[in-house]
């Protein structure tokens, strides 16, 4: 048996197995639960890197469950796939890499962060299940299987958002709200899947894409999928769950929730590009995504400026940054049917949007971890009560500066590189959109200057005289993210050329996506 053929399933199976092992291990040694989780996720990370190298050198990979060979998509005599399969192309593995890095660092950070909490075994089990859900959403090639993984991620998220305690009220309320919006969205996704299955008798995304007619039923399915996936990504005006959930969840979980939201964003892009592609009215749907992007960017950042809770402020910025991704990819979709415009600026706009997904996961993850570090030491998220913390938490201060500069799009950090790609390409599509995006960046900088001044600058405050730097595992997670941000900022060309461009092309080229499963490539 060639084990390398089974890497796609191992990436998910290892954390899934660990999720069920953790409660058993906790009966013997509670401390071992965190170590087991970190180990499982480090193996997943390594396997994801190996798979990424394979995909980027050899091409897309499929993993068919229950088949005699994992690559056997069409058993003899069949014209369409019937088994559940993972279909991992450059875009899927791009997202997979983000998930792998974020989940590993989230677990590492949690080793010290969760010491104050009870029920840590449940925390780690749920963290692993959330990782499994996100990976599954990104890797699956089956639309019903996508729904299953979406539910796994949602249920794990609800419990993790409420993890700080039902007795506290607010975490439970945030978890409840997330549960309701997730249920509404899951039902609408399920309804859309029902439409596809009723119409085409298949659930494989590539198989549906190969026969899709863009009938009235397909339009209804698109009209159901688009808003709920945008909502799960945190797009305005369906974003209101985001500040509640992001602020109440423990900091490493908030970082994971960002990755979960991005998996929904990925699903939205997969639906419009790989499933429908030019069969739909690309200009109309592209503009719908652009408008989501504009609203998210502007309302997100202006709401952030008036926040006093550091995590709530950062949550609104997460919404705002999602707007950039929607804007870049939306422009790409709007010109998808126009080869000249697509070549001139559409592909670059999409590269900017997709690159921003990875950059955002890194710097927003870092910023949430710094907020977690402040909460860990001061016990408050209220910026009005903070001040002078740079005197006591020097590493955290440096990490915050790196994250804040990156999100504000200051050179030479990674946020600048992806935003520059968006500004310059979107300008050719519609200059006003580009100008709004730049204004939002300035407001983002203003907002983080406020956080920096309120929390870190100023004289030493007597109530914080006992405060000291956070433990090493937390510093390690923040340091790794900072290094990634700096590296991506210094060498953006390496990332765009080797990871982002192939990801964009795998979205645009629908025939390659369907051909991987149905042949005829």
């Amino acid at each position: 048996m060639n084990l390398s053929n089974h890497i796609p399933i191992l990436i998910i199976a290892i954390p899934l197995l660990a999720a069920f092992l953790v409660p058993l291990i906790s009966r013997i040694n509670k401390k071992a639960t965190g170590i087991l989780t970190t180990l499982a996720l480090s193996v997943s990370l390594l396997l994801t890197i190996v798979l990424a190298v394979k995909i980027l050198t050899v091409g897309p990979q499929v993993y068919v469950f229950g088949a005699t060979s994992p690559s056997l998509t069409l058993p003899s005599g069949l014209k369409f796939p019937i088994r559940i399969m993972f279909q991992i192309d450059a875009m899927s593995i791009f997202m997979g890499l983000i998930t792998a890095v974020v989940s590993f660092l989230g677990a590492t950070y949690s080793l010290s962060f969760t010491k104050k909490y009870d029920g840590v075994d449940k925390y780690y089990s749920l963290l692993l299940l959330l990782t499994v859900g996100i990976f599954g959403m990104e890797f699956t090639g089956d639309i019903f299987n996508f729904f299953v993984f979406l539910e796994i991620a949602s249920i794990a998220s609800v419990a993790l958002i409420s993890f700080r305690g039902v007795d506290l009220g607010e975490p439970a309320e945030a978890g409840f709200k997330y549960m309701v919006v997730s249920s509404v969205s899951a039902l609408m996704v399920l309804f859309a899947i029902g439409i596809f299955y009723g119409e085409y008798d298949v659930l494989n995304i590539a198989a549906i894409a190969s026969v899709i007619k863009y009938s009235q039923l397909d339009k209804i399915a698109l009209g159901l999928l688009m808003p709920v996936l945008a909502m799960k990504a945190g797009a305005v005006p369906m974003h209101m769950w985001t500040p509640d959930a992001y602020s109440e969840a423990p900091a490493p979980i908030t970082m994971m929730l960002v990755a979960a939201s991005q998996a929904s964003l990925y699903a939205l892009f997969r639906v419009v590009f790989s499933l429908y592609n030019i069969s739909l009215n690309t200009l109309t749907v592209g503009w719908i995504i652009i408008i989501f992007g504009l609203l998210s960017m502007f309302i997100g950042v202006t709401m952030a400026i008036i926040q006093k809770d550091i995590k709530r402020l950062m949550a609104y910025h997460a919404i705002s940054q999602t707007g950039y991704m929607l804007l870049g990819v939306g422009v790409g979709l709007a010109v998808l049917a126009n080869p000249e415009a697509l070549k001139n600026y559409g592909i670059t706009a999409m590269e900017g949007g997709i690159f921003h997904i990875m950059n955002h996961a890194m710097y927003k993850g870092l910023l949430f971890l710094t907020a977690g570090a402040l909460f860990f030491r001061t016990g408050t998220r209220d910026l009005n009560k903070m001040g002078g913390l740079a005197h006591y938490m020097k590493y955290t201060t440096i990490f915050f500066i790196i994250g804040a500069a990156a999100i504000a799009g200051l050179p030479p950090f990674n946020g600048f590189a992806s935003k520059l790609l968006i500004y310059e390409s979107v300008y050719k599509f519609n200059p006003l959109l580009s100008i709004i995006a730049m204004v939002v960046s300035i407001l983002t900088l203003a907002s983080f200057v406020k956080v920096f001044h309120s929390a870190f600058l100023g004289p030493k405050l007597p109530q914080f005289k006992e405060v000291k730097e956070v433990p090493r595992s937390m510093v390690f997670a923040m340091a790794v993210l900072s290094c990634i941000i700096i590296f991506f900022g210094l060498f953006p060309d390496l990332i765009v050329k080797n990871l982002v461009h192939p990801a964009v092309m795998s979205l645009i080229e629908q025939l390659q996506y369907t051909g991987t499963v149905l042949g005829g490539m």
């Binding site: 709200k177 309701v180 919006v181 509404v184 609408m188 009235q216 339009k219 698109l222 009209g223 159901l224 688009m226 808003p227 709920v228 909502m231 005006p237 369906m238 209101m240 769950w241 509640d244 739909l280 009215n281 109309t284 749907v285 719908i288 309302i299 202006t302 709401m303 400026i305 008036i306 006093k308 600026y345 670059t348 910026l383 009005n384 009560k385 001040g387 050179p411 030479p412 600048f416 590189a417 520059l420 790609l421 310059e424 390409s425 300008y427 050719k428 406020k450 956080v451 001044h453 309120s454 600058l457 100023g458 004289p459 405050l461 210094l490 060498f491 953006p492 060309d493 390496l494 765009v496």
Partner: protein, 113 residues
Amino acid sequence: MLGLLETGSGFWSAIIWILLVLVIGNLVIYIRNKGEDSYKKNTEQDKPFISGNPEESKESSHLSASHIYWGFTEALKGYYNPLVKMHTGNINDYSSWIIVITAIILIMVGVSG
């Protein structure tokens, strides 16, 4: 060249940018180090100018988050009041927004052909 990102309209290189910052920064430091002739150390020139008001203690001089950008939010009250009102925190409203946006998208996709 490593680190050179093609943007479609030009290029971006963080390394060149850092080199430029170093050159300009050194120039600024050089000019600053030349000094200001009228400056006298350990005189009232060293004290902050606060219009003759008494200097507050260091602890009470820290400006808290609520006071930052007060003028900005006050000037944009007309924008902020309805926006903040929209964020009710009520789950019924969250769900309503999803339904409303779904309906709008269904209409847009349906009529666009």
